[in-house]
């Protein structure tokens, strides 16, 4: 009753953590949660797709200015001069550890697909994936997405992924991951944490009722030059 506010530290718990100075290196970018679309525009200019298509080289700061998913690809398949190949993808709920979805690229003609109730995938041309999840997926808080990829004969410096998720013309979330250096001829695995943005009930309803209007662009850079561009779209009405 003395008027002091209840102390947040009354229950022992973690303080809000800011990264210590000098540790803003590659690993700190893997969290992705600081790449919120709302705050992405410190020194970023708004860009249109046609502006970027006219550029000689597309750089990370260019795609960070995009306000909607692109209609076309911003690079050609042959721009992947490092022969980076994605071989496995897995999603798990970090709250429970449950694997929600996993798919591995068939090594030969044999399919190695594990179809969970939550997802079905249709692939085409290797640069586009279509996902179908149940509505429950949008209620998840923290998800770990594991990507496995191989690198060709040349080492990759500063391999970086920027992934942007949109519903219609609205940016939901921006993820920015710096893998750093990639050893040539080697397979690597990366799991990054996706913390779901807070979605209003209305938005959830819209996303469920409008399958495949949630879309994402994944841009991959080596030494700040765009080398790969993958796309995906998502439905959340699975099982209905």
């Amino acid at each position: 009753m003395s008027g002091s506010k209840p102390r947040a530290a009354a229950v022992p718990g973690p303080e809000k953590k800011k990264p210590p100075p000098g540790t803003g290196g590659p690993l700190s970018r893997l969290r992705g949660r600081r790449g919120s679309g709302d705050s992405a525009s410190r020194t970023v200019l708004p860009r249109t797709e046609s502006e970027l298509l006219a550029l000689e080289t597309v750089r990370p700061e260019h795609v960070l200015g995009l306000s909607r998913v692109t209609e076309s690809y911003l690079c050609k398949p042959e721009d992947n001069i490092y022969n980076i190949d994605f071989t496995r993808f897995k999603i798990r709920d970090l709250e429970t550890g449950t694997v929600l979805f996993e798919i591995a690229k068939p090594s030969t003609s044999e399919q190695d697909e594990d179809d969970d109730d939550c997802g079905e995938v249709d692939t085409s041309a290797g640069r586009f994936v279509r996902y179908q999840f149940t509505p429950a997926f949008l209620r998840l808080r923290t998800v770990g997405a594991t990507v496995e990829f191989t690198v060709g004969d040349k080492p990759v410096s500063n391999f970086r992924m920027i992934e942007r998720h949109y519903f219609r013309d609205r940016l939901l979330k921006n993820f920015d991951f710096d893998f750093g250096f990639c050893i040539p001829g080697i397979r690597n695995t990366c799991e990054h944490i996706y913390e779901f943005p807070q979605l209003s009930e209305d938005l959830i309803r819209l996303m469920v009722d409008n399958p495949y209007e949630t879309r994402s662009d994944s841009f991959y850079f080596a030494d700040n030059k765009l080398i790969m561009h993958n796309k995906a779209d998502y439905a959340y009405n699975g099982g209905q």
């Binding site: 718990g13 973690p14 590659p26 893997l30 970090l94 770990g144 799991e191 009930e201």
Partner: protein, 195 residues
Amino acid sequence: MDYKIIPKKCFRALCCKGPPPPRPEYDLVCIGLTGSGKTSLLSQLCSENTENIVSTTGFSIKAVPFQNAILNVKELGGAANIRKYWSRYYQGSQGVIFVLDSASSEDELETARNELHSALQHPQLCTLPFLILANHQDKPAARSVQEVLPSSTWIYRWRLWPVSYTHLDVYKRQMERAFSVAAPRLWNFLQWRLD
């Protein structure tokens, strides 16, 4: 008056069912010779199936969730041709987990000790705390932790834990406790006695 018809939205607000506060995160690098058990131990922390584990070749970045913390661990392959690249991944780390096979040959153990020594002195790691796991304690040929790392040789800023696959629950509890206390700075845990 009819308490049953409180709309869901209001009920949730009243019960303060907002999102839980974000957990603090620690960026760690996990190194050690190939076969020391790095992937298995990290997978165990995530309660993942360890049956089909293959040798890590390049890097394997994993998010290890604890109740009150998340570890972002960059595990690096330990084969000889990969070790020369380890230092490319040190920048940005806040701590190191080094895994040793307590039951390896003396030559291999000496190689592991040398790699550990190099890592302890590397400019980008020399101020960071090291958690050293003397793994495979359950094997008949396993050396004691004192034999694995004679303590007089090493400096203060590390902790050495024995780990065996027959007592993984102990290891998991220790890890959870080490990273789940109020102090957010990783190196503070070195001041606590881990009995």
